[in-house]
């Protein structure tokens, strides 16, 4: 599914420009959306799902312009969304909650909804817990219910905001596997701070900075930003003011620097090095 964003601006109150004339295009696959806190990731995702109206600019999802009520409703029938903050109704069971969300998505017919809800519970591994109240769910189970509701309408575009934040390693692996599977047949926009998730899952990466995309390319392209700028320097050797230390071991510091530090040895960069290089040194 194609998503076109042009000149997108969102202003919250005087002086707070969460998005500032952003231009973007997504065409299938899993797209990682990176950026520091306050860069506009969550705002962009809320605008893409039609839950937030932009101040200016245009968003077209699968040919539907979100500026009109008709276009937004049509687009929302093809979009699944899992927000960062999942304030699900604690009084409902997982099954009841999914049925309620299916109703709000306009999925008609009790039998059809029941069947979809059963499928989704099974897909996220919660079929045995569907009768329990959400208040009793763990954080990981709530996230799984969150992803299940996002898939209810069989969406062509799935927008997920920090899906693995706060999960234990086992849940994170389960989630990655689920999103990787979903991404085979849909466009997925994955907003995250976890670079490991991006390197494992995403075919392309967009980095937002101050409300605008500062980078868009493949994961390989992003790693290449740090190529020739990543070094190992013996511990205790000064690395220079512009160098960013990205890791340490008992013998070496791993740094990203614009010039070769004294006694620095070039090493192959990782995605994290690429991100640090992009944010601190620029894309040169």
């Amino acid at each position: 599914m194609n998503v076109e964003v042009s000149g997108l601006t969102k202003v919250f109150g005087p002086g707070v420009r969460a998005l500032d004339g952003a231009d973007l295009a997504f065409r299938g696959g899993i797209v990682g959306l990176l950026g520091p806190n306050g860069a506009g990731k969550t705002t962009l995702m809320r605008v893409l799902t039609g839950s937030l109206r932009p101040t200016a600019g245009r968003v077209v999802v699968d040919g539907h312009d979100l500026a009109t009520n008709r276009g937004r409703r049509a687009a929302q029938r093809t979009i699944g969304y899992m927000p960062q903050e999942l304030g699900l109704y604690p009084d409902l069971t997982g099954r009841e909650f999914l049925d309620y969300m299916a109703s709000l998505k306009g999925i008609g017919g009790r039998r059809v909804r029941c069947s979809r809800v059963r499928d989704m519970l099974s897909r996220v591994g919660l079929e045995e817990h569907g009768g329990r109240r959400i208040a009793e769910y763990s954080g990981g189970m709530r996230r799984r219910i969150g992803i299940a509701q996002s898939l209810l309408g069989d969406p062509g575009l799935l927008v997920v905001d920090e899906p693995t934040a706060g999960l234990d390693p086992e849940e994170r692996m389960r989630f990655r596997s689920l999103i990787a599977h979903i991404g085979q047949e849909r466009t997925v926009v994955l907003g995250t701070h976890i670079l490991d998730d991006v390197s494992q899952l995403c075919s392309s990466v967009t980095v937002l900075s101050a409300g605008r995309p500062s980078f868009h390319g493949t994961v390989r392209d992003m790693i290449d930003v740090a190529r020739g700028r990543t070094y190992e320097v013996p511990v205790g050797v000064p690395v220079g003011q512009r160098a960013m230390v990205v890791g340490t071991s008992p013998e070496y510091c791993r740094v990203v620097a614009p010039e070769t530090p004294s006694r620095g040895r070039p090493v192959p960069p990782t995605l994290e090095d690429g991100y640090i290089a992009l944010m601190c040194l620029g894309a040169e």
Binding site: R46, T49, G50, S51, L52, R53, R72, R73, A74, Q76, R77, I79, Y81, P83, E85, L86, G87, L88, Y89, D91, L92, E96, D99, Y100, M101, A102, S103, L104, K105, G106, I107, G108, G109, R113, G146, Q149
Partner: protein, 263 residues
């Protein structure tokens, strides 16, 4: 919005909002004692009841004054919990219209919360029916519940839900209680306050109770005179109900506009 997609939205909202109110422990913690208190006050021995219809009208009025307060205060969170961060984002990303969903939320919540007051009024039918020697008080009780109690409860709950959207929840609950007492109890003859009490604007249900169920006129106009405090009759009772219907509709409209503006 197409009817085929509107029906699941309405059906789902009515069903699950009602279910969540059934499981809303605070509502029952507040409403059960208030209902029992209403029953104690409204109950009368058959030998003390001079007219069965008047008795059930009075029961609806008393139950309304006490229980509506509890309903309004506890249901103030209904809109905001479905529209706040997290759940609100999820719902906003679905293709439903708030113009249908918010009224459905109000109807579902009230539909459940009003069950206990209905039970109180219906229990009061028993001595009234014995006193009258017939079932006429039963029909009168249903009519009194619908015309005396429900309109005020709908108006107050709509106000509470709207206030819950624009104020911190605790403040919204306090304001709801204040508005109810100000508009139903605080008579200008007792307190030097400008108040709707004793006028056609009051949600207490005094005009229908006095006009149709033989309740004393003091419940309607508090012995005030003036264009807003006419003597109770069918016309003024209908005018009072119309005012409450408009008030409820305006508050719902404001709530939807606030919710839409937050997008």
């Amino acid at each position: 919005m197409r009817a085929s997609s509107l029906l699941p939205v309405l059906g789902g909202t009515l069903r699950y909002e009602a279910l969540m109110v059934v499981r809303h422990r605070a509502l029952w913690t507040v409403l059960v004692p208030l209902s029992l208190l209403s029953l104690v006050i409204a109950w009368g021995a058959p030998s003390d009841i001079t007219g069965g219809v008047r008795h059930v009208g009075a029961a609806a009025l008393i139950t309304g004054i006490l229980c509506t307060l509890g309903i309004g205060v506890t249901l103030a969170d209904r809109f905001v919990r479905g529209l706040s961060h997290g759940m609100g984002d999820l719902a906003a990303a679905t293709p439903h219209s708030l113009w249908f969903r918010l009224p459905a939320m109000l109807v579902a919540s009230l539909g459940v919360a009003l069950v206990l007051p209905l039970v109180v009024v219906m229990v009061c039918v028993v001595p009234a029916a014995v006193a009258d020697g017939g079932v006429r008080p039963l029909a009168a009780a249903l009519a009194a519940f619908t015309t005396v109690l429900v309109p005020g409860a709908a108006a107050l709950t709509a106000l509470a839900c709207f206030l819950g959207l624009v104020l911190p929840l605790t403040l919204a609950r306090v304001a709801t209680a204040g508005v109810w007492l100000w508009s139903t109890i605080a008579s200008p003859q007792i307190l030097p306050l400008v108040t709707p009490t004793g006028t056609l604007l009051s949600p207490v249900g005094g005009y229908p109770a006095a006009a149709w169920f033989g309740e004393r006129a003091v419940w309607a106009n508090r012995e005030l005179t003036g264009p807003l405090s006419p003597p109770p009759d069918t016309g003024t009772a209908l005018a009072n109900l119309a005012v409450l219907a408009v008030f409820t509709a305006v508050l719902l409209t404001l709530a939807v506009l606030v919710a839409v503006r937050r997008k």
